[in-house]
Symmetry: C2
Subunit: 112 residues, 2 copies
Amino acid sequence: MTYGQILTALADPTRRALLEDLRAGPMPVARLAARHPVSRPAVSQHLKVLQEAGLVAVEPRGAARLYRARPRGLAPLRAYLDEVWGDVLQAFAEEVSRQMEDANARPRHQDD
Amino acid sequence: MTYGQILTALADPTRRALLEDLRAGPMPVARLAARHPVSRPAVSQHLKVLQEAGLVAVEPRGAARLYRARPRGLAPLRAYLDEVWGDVLQAFAEEVSRQMEDANARPRHQDD
DNA sequence: ACTTACTGTAAGCGATGACTTACGGACAGA
DNA sequence: TCTGTCCGTAAGTCATCGCTTACAGTAAGT
């Protein structure tokens, strides 16, 4: 559920494709696997990663298991991007960067 | 500059740490390497990945090279998250998901 | 020109990850 | 209960990646 897990999950193209396919609605594993050039077990493994990252929810449907996309799972990632690299801080940070440039180019006095 | 590159770059913890350190202001490679338990060449390689992802900017300072964080580089990722998994679509998507559940659980008529 | 400081790149190694096939468990229907 | 279907997991392979040390290049100072 951390943004690290989310980033790791989203970093893989196959996993992104699976997740985007689930936008069309919940699907069982077999159906999902049929749409991608990978084996069914591979899809299962990817779904496990996505589930652990909170990006996918499972729901038993008899012998099958219905997977559903969970957009809310992206919240931690959004929070990370906003808090650490938010647009609000951006202008200020860049300005500070400019100012610290000269101070950093010269020999350091304190810090470190 | 694609969100794929950005996700790959951000998926690595060391790379995130380097990027967050650059928030404090621009730094040369050696200074940046001193703050992390990795060798200087490793930092160079990470910075190359970050640069190719558009998350870092370089500026020559004599023999040294000053690296600066570039928060604007996150724009493609933000756009991807918003457009594909945006909060606007979220409620609707989940509602559609609920509705399609039954239709999907039953034998398919068209599609596929 | 020579030395020193700061860096990027090549080469190699170990770990991680994505994928495959093979196997075993859980549920519905006859 | 037996069969067929749907699925997760184990085991193994191959590529990728992160890291290291060694080497080569560029700019400033004397």
